[in-house]
């Protein structure tokens, strides 16, 4: 600021000892003239709708019902997603793998070289087929339901209910909203952190957003919970048990979020909570058409397209890795066996950890990579049902419930995907915070898996 202006400002400040009073009067006069205008032009419609909003609020945010309703809604959304995605998922898989067979025939008929067919069909096409059949149905169910809750105006109430916890953790109640966005996509969650005004609390929200499983990781949780936890009980309740497992993991993720937020605000991001204001808009009747268009076009298609763009080359690369021989093992197997001792400490195996590492571009492809690397070591060619998947994991690769649990926990707590990291870097312009966004969840995942593994083996549970 140039000095003459500063001089003027100083003079002005001297001539007016109570600046607050001046500001107050300015705001006051703005409000009173606004009041005048509205009282002359606007008539108050019947108060029915505000009364309704209030009555609903008194239930949804009540001391008794607030939290149970929140948990019940969360579980219901997961249950509808899991139970509803099952059938279309297997139908899609059947259809897409039928096409794979036809593709193979075409390549055979054309006398195409084996490596080309392997790269394009077994590598690129098959991972695309996996991503579509595993991701599309849950997304097409989850996103509309979620958009519906958003449209109804329920999400600010979640922030209202949860704020006390976030305050204790030195964070902002609106972090509950950014976490909700994270369920869809963590990169979207990171961008939504802009709604938190204070830079300190925004960083906390950004660094912990990854503890909410995004849509790319839900399928891993859902598939493993269905096979290993739901599969160990009677079929009639298996989808409910699987749902409760996923809901439990999400609650675990929320707990970790609060704990890490608290830790950050006590160490790296010390400071007092900034001022908190949250608007609770009146409930609205959702516009069904808009909900469907927005959730299918803006979210489902968007996320799926991104996943496919990344899955196609990744599938090809994995196929090359699985088929490039170093001595008498493949590159992929060699890398996996090098990682194996460390992965075993975490209750997993080398292939699982390899899949997580190769899945850095997008979490959606972790499971397809894992399956592809397992399959390349076995004679199995097709994998069109959860039963076949169970067989592959349990009988051929020695998975136990502990392997499944540790894989699920690690899916929840590890480095964010490439897109999310890119977004964090773009939002913060800092390699330091981007690095921490990798290091924090990874450390949490490694430590948690090791503890679970040690406890389970120590108590002889496996």
């Amino acid at each position: 600021m140039s000095s003459p202006i500063r001089q003027l400002l100083d003079e002005a400040a001297k001539s007016c000892p109570n600046q607050n009073e001046v500001r107050d009067n300015i705001v006051k006069s703005i409000y009173s003239s606004a009041e005048n205008i509205t009282s002359n032009t606007q008539y108050v419609e019947d108060k029915k709708s505000t009364d309704w909003s209030r009555k609903i609020d008194n239930i949804l945010t009540s001391p008794i019902w607030g939290f149970p309703i929140m948990l019940a809604l969360l579980t219901t959304v997961f249950w509808i997603t899991i139970a509803g995605a099952n059938v279309p998922s297997s139908m899609l898989a059947t259809g897409l793998f039928w096409i794979e067979d036809r593709l193979t025939e075409v390549f055979m008929a054309l006398n195409a070289p084996g490596w080309l067919r392997g790269f394009l069909v077994t590598g690129v096409y098959r991972s695309l087929a996996w991503v579509v059949s595993v991701m599309l149905p849950p997304m097409a169910i989850f996103f509309p339901i979620f958009t519906l809750l958003e449209d109804l105006g329920y999400l600010p109430r979640v922030a209202f209910n949860m704020d006390r916890f976030f305050k204790k953790a030195g964070a902002h109640g609106k972090q509950a909203l950014t976490m909700s966005m994270g369920f869809g996509c963590n990169a979207a969650g990171i961008i939504s952190c802009r709604i938190i005004e204070s830079p300190r609390e925004r960083l906390i929200a950004i660094l912990t957003n990854n503890f909410v499983p995004c849509n790319g990781r839900f399928p891993i949780l859902i598939a493993l919970a269905t096979i290993f936890i739901g599969g160990s009980v009677a079929a009639s309740i298996s989808s409910i048990i699987a749902t409760l497992t996923v809901a439990g993991l999400v609650v675990f993720g929320i707990t970790i979020t609060l704990f890490i937020s608290w830790l950050l605000s006590k160490t790296l991001l010390k400071g007092v909570p900034s001022s908190f204001t949250l608007e609770l808009p009146p409930y609205r009747k959702p516009k069904i058409g808009e909900v469907i268009v927005r959730s299918i076009l803006d979210r489902t298609i968007f996320v799926l397209t991104r996943a496919m763009i990344i899955a196609a080359p990744a599938g090809g690369i994995v196929w090359i890795m699985a088929n490039t021989m170093v001595g008498d093992t493949s590159l992929l197997a060699a890398f996996a066996s090098w990682l194996n001792p460390f992965a075993q400490l975490m209750g997993m195996d080398g292939f699982i950890l390899t899949a997580f590492i190769l899945g850095l571009p997008a979490n959606e492809i972790v499971f397809p990579i894992l399956i592809m690397s397992y399959i390349s070591g076995s004679g199995m060619l097709e994998l069109s049902s959860l039963e076949a998947l169970r067989h592959l994991l349990v009988d051929e690769n020695g998975w136990t419930w502990l392997t499944a649990l540790c894989t699920m926990v690690f899916a929840l707590c590890h480095w964010p995907c490439g897109t999310t990291l890119y977004t964090i870097q773009k939002e913060q312009h800092s390699w330091y915070w981007t690095f921490l966004a990798i290091a924090i969840p990874t450390a949490v995942g490694i430590v948690t898996c090791m503890i679970i593994n040690l406890l389970a083996k120590g108590f002889g549970l496996v």
């Binding site: 607050n20 500001r23 107050d24 705001v27 006051k28 409000y31 909003s53 209030r54 609020d57 008194n58 945010t61 009540s62 001391p63 607030g66 939290f67 209202f160 209910n161 704020d163 006390r164 916890f165 305050k167 109640g173 909570p273 900034s274 001022s275 908190f276 204001t277 949250l278 608007e279 609770l280 808009p281 009146p282």
Partner: protein
């Protein structure tokens, strides 16, 4: 002033008249921007399940405030 208490101690489902704001800096600006100017009548609505924050009806908008902010707002009944 008779019955002068801070906004956070006003019981639910009652009204309070804003008399002054004790905060300074950005918090003061923020509270004023919400319409909490002296002379405004505010209705105290429900508390969150853990008791804090509390929702207020400020000029027709429902706004939740934490104790930290509402305790800086002076009211008379």
């Amino acid at each position: 002033m008779k019955g002068s208490i801070t906004l956070d101690t006003v019981p639910s489902n009652t009204f309070a008249l804003i008399t002054s704001i004790n905060a300074d800096g950005p918090t003061r600006r923020r509270l004023l921007d919400l319409g909490l100017v002296p002379g405004t009548r505010v209705e105290v609505l429900q508390r969150s399940p853990m008791g804090d924050p509390v929702a207020y009806n400020i000029r027709g908008a429902v706004i939740a405030l934490r104790k930290e902010e509402s305790s800086q707002v002076q009211t008379s009944r």
